[in-house]
Symmetry: C2
Subunit: 413 residues, 2 copies
């Protein structure tokens, strides 16, 4: 017997048939003797429609009213799923964020969970009842509904799993697990049975969009074991766990990529103390996240400074910097939106040398020029021309011995 939180995303509850399918999955876990709580998203498409209405009425709408409107999507799903569960003989009742309660801060539209009262949910689970909890929402200190931002239902599920001390949090989605890389690019990508929180964070934040980043951070902090698995197929998924639970640690677990990047180079910046602050201070104040930063020291008291940022932030960043050109003192700004970031991720890097040099050698053999390099304890990232993305990912996947024996079969995209 285990206590399990099962979370189903929008495509898993997209219509009544899929809701019935979810009900029979939940029933199976209950009949296996487990205590189960369920967290659901809105039926797919619903949230987008609600968001669109708010935006059409006013691009600058009140975030509190936005939350009131968009939180209804999950409210519909919990009621319908509770009915579907009762229909197949499973005792169930729906819980909205304010009923649990799931307390958040007051940052409407992107609230953070402060605390979750798990006692009532545990009591019901011990009675054999399945709580069906609305994801994505909570209640703020102003007694108004808050939402956690897009993808927030993953976060809800992990937070609830922590609050009810669940043995596992199963995230059902439209992929069947976490892969060594994107199988659309590398058909021989393998599904990982286990992956550490740290690796998952690096993979998620650089482009493997399986789990919302904040939910992985929370799982790591609260030590919640998370399983990613398919709503549509019936097989085990990937477990995201503490690295101590991973007995045989591969040196490299996966190759990630992101095309949502842009590169900015400032030519001939005066090489004096405080120059970095004068460049990145205004960007940070404008909420532009800068990722990789490289500075080449010149020989004439000036330097070239290169950094990357999200592609959608490029126009704003360029505008900001060009307005301050005189103050900062650079000669020219060169922007390149046609770049991609390729990352090699693995906790084994901590104890094994040579990962980076294998990467550089592999890319060099394929004639791929590396524009920027950055490293962390468990990751090496390089920036390359976007055209080379697939070639680089494939070459690295092979070089690190990640290729599976044959093309993996998968559910959806």
């Amino acid at each position: 017997m285990a206590r399990i939180v099962m979370k189903f995303g929008g495509t898993s509850v997209a219509d009544l048939d899929r809701i019935r399918n979810v009900a029979s999955r939940v029933k199976r876990e209950v009949e296996a003797g487990n205590e189960v709580a369920v967290v659901v998203s809105a039926m797919s498409g619903v949230t987008n429609q609600l968001v669109k209405w708010c935006q059409e009425l006013s691009p600058l709408h009140d975030a509190r009213e936005y939350d009131t409107v968009v939180a209804t999507g999950e409210q519909v799903t919990i009621g319908l799923l509770a009915i579907a569960l009762q229909t197949v003989g499973v005792d169930a009742r729906s819980w909205q964020g304010w009923q649990v309660p799931i307390r958040t801060d007051n940052a409407h539209g992107k609230a953070r969970v402060d605390s979750i009262e798990g006692a009532l949910l545990i009591e019901r689970m011990q009675m054999g009842q399945v709580p069906v909890v609305a994801g994505f929402q909570g209640i703020g200190p102003d007694n108004r509904i808050t939402t956690l931002g897009r993808g927030g239902s993953d976060l809800s599920a992990v937070a609830i799993a922590a609050a009810v001390k669940a043995d596992r949090c199963d995230i059902y989605t439209d992929v069947d697990g976490v892969y060594t890389t994107d199988p659309r690019i590398v058909p021989r990508a393998r599904k990982l049975d286990r992956i550490s929180y740290e690796e998952m964070l690096e993979l998620a934040s650089v482009g493997a969009k399986v789990l919302q980043t904040r939910s992985v951070e929370l799982a790591m902090k609260q030590r919640v074991r998370v399983q990613v698995l398919s709503s549509f197929e019936d097989k085990p998924g990937s477990l995201v766990v503490d690295e101590d639970e991973i007995v045989e640690q591969p040196i490299v677990s996966g190759i990630a990529y992101s095309r949502d990047e842009a590169k900015v180079t400032l030519r001939r910046v005066p090489d004096r103390p405080g120059i970095a602050a004068s460049v990145f201070g205004p960007l940070s104040a404008a909420n532009v996240n800068v990722d990789m930063i490289v500075q080449n020291i010149g020989d004439d008291g000036s330097t070239d400074m290169t950094f990357t940022l999200g592609r959608s932030d490029l126009p704003r960043a360029r505008d900001l910097l060009e307005k301050q050109q005189a103050q900062i003192g650079f000669e020219a700004l060169i922007a390149d939106p046609d770049v991609a970031k390729i990352s090699v991720v693995g906790i084994g890097m901590r104890t094994h040398a040579g990962v980076a040099s294998t990467m550089f050698k592999t890319l060099s053999e394929k004639g791929i020029n590396i524009q920027v390099i950055s490293t962390s304890e468990i990751k090496v990232s390089v920036l390359v021309a976007a055209d080379y993305t697939e070639l680089a990912v494939r070459a690295l996947h092979t070089a690190y011995g990640l290729d599976g024996p044959e093309p993996a079969r998968r559910g959806e995209g």
Copy 2:
């Protein structure tokens, strides 16, 4: 300056343009110096879709989960209207039933309002803010959302008007007021400037479907002045008020009709004490409402008993009575679903004789046979063959001097 509750139904908030239209109406009342609260229904069609989903999952769904699902319709509208109001410069915020709170009993799907906490709403109105309150919903003693049954937003509006001690409750709808009869049948029907609660109740319950009956009962009990007016046109509607407020009382205010009737005759029922109880007891227990009842005394110890009920209840009633034929002891059951009830309504009847005889004489002149008669203090109703409905309504409208000078122009339906 007045304190006004404005209520808008589903067709008045059917899309974003209509929501903007509502916002500008509210703005006008605010700018005229009034304190305003708004009550809204779900966008038209939304509630039906939500109800359909629940029914498709299970015809016998849990009413508590049904309430969770269907209450979202109003939640969407209050958020959108609050945004629309803010966009035109009116300070507004949305209120769900549980936030006010609007406390109800535990009868999910058809709850009754127990109490409404008006203090917070009044405070906001006095600050110049417009509370936008979700109609149709409240919170039960189990801390779950309840709904008040179809048409419940009218009831919410009247109850909120009572709780905030409003000077008037304006019900905006797709008709522009209460008419002397259905203008689709009598183009010369006149809009009534004022009508008493009692008359409105009689007109509503016999077919003039402008205001939900329970909301009129509540308005009468709490002495809330109600105005029915059009969302789409810009002119005064009909005031539903205490009869003391109606200076010049007409003898007859309106002619109502209902085709949703059926007639049942039990032939040769033994004429003994307790026989009525043996017939109507089981019907009442089965929730079949019996309306008019006539009993003709025979000369051989038996009697014919005729009564009317809602047409949709006829199959169930017939089944019930035929099962107990031996016990009750009637000879035959004759059912007629092709009947209509025509009613003449007016508080002036209390002090004026001759209303009923005018009715009988008028119908007789047109060759219309009266099957059953029933009377109350302010109403005379007759049952006639359904084919004669329009003829009877038109003839009576003329006979009581209700015809207007020319065809009235109206908004919708």
